[in-house]
Symmetry: C2
Subunit: 125 residues, 2 copies
């Protein structure tokens, strides 16, 4: 799995990493049951600090996407295990983005099309 970190981005490194891991799962590059590299190995690969990777893992665990088994590894959870709070959080995160899309002049159709394009782009992998 190829991870691309941009140190000068306004998005924190630990968030970039979390997002790309999520994208990797969505694309099927990583699958439920698979385990992520150790925080040390991953940090070494990416050229970042161990604690930064650790923070990413804990963010993913908070989102319910992986399970960190101490002294063993970080394992991708099954989609079945998602809960209502994840849905509520996602809705809150969609709202400002959709509002901005409307304000910027996009129609409902255009927004749904954009979302469809992104979904299909992910799925065809």
């Amino acid at each position: 799995m190829i991870i691309r970190i941009e140190p000068d981005s306004d998005i924190p490194i630990y968030e970039q990493l979390s997002n790309q891991i999520i994208e990797g799962i969505a694309r099927g590059v990583i699958q439920p049951g698979d385990s992520l590299p150790s925080v040390r190995a991953f940090a070494s690969d990416l050229g970042v600090n161990m604690h930064t990777v650790n923070k990413s893992y804990h963010l993913l665990e908070k989102k319910g996407i992986i399970k960190i088994v101490p002294k063993s590894g970080a394992i991708i959870s099954s989609p079945q295990d998602f809960n209502q709070s994840s849905l509520d959080r996602l809705k809150d995160e969609y709202m400002p983005l959709i509002a901005e899309s409307l304000v910027v002049g996009m129609s409902q159709k255009q927004i749904l099309e954009l979302v469809s394009i992104i979904i299909n782009d992910i799925k065809k992998n």
Copy 2:
């Protein structure tokens, strides 16, 4: 227009304010051509610092949503004035959210439904 600021949120105040202004425009509570309160008056209303409101205004201007006319006020732009860079930025922001939705187990249909619900919720105002 009612603005609700949560000082203890993990979302910065200036971003909360920007988001709610955007939502207000999307809902039609504020319209293109309308002007926003002065940074001082708004800050006083909200109980925050003038510079925080100022930062919100500049974020909105960067997004192409308002135009700050020095010594005059901040005016809501028309939707026609949006540009390609806004679209690119929005696409980048949709991506991680959609990927997470898929990972968490939502189907394409469910995602499109959620987006539709949010759009209609905004539009019916």
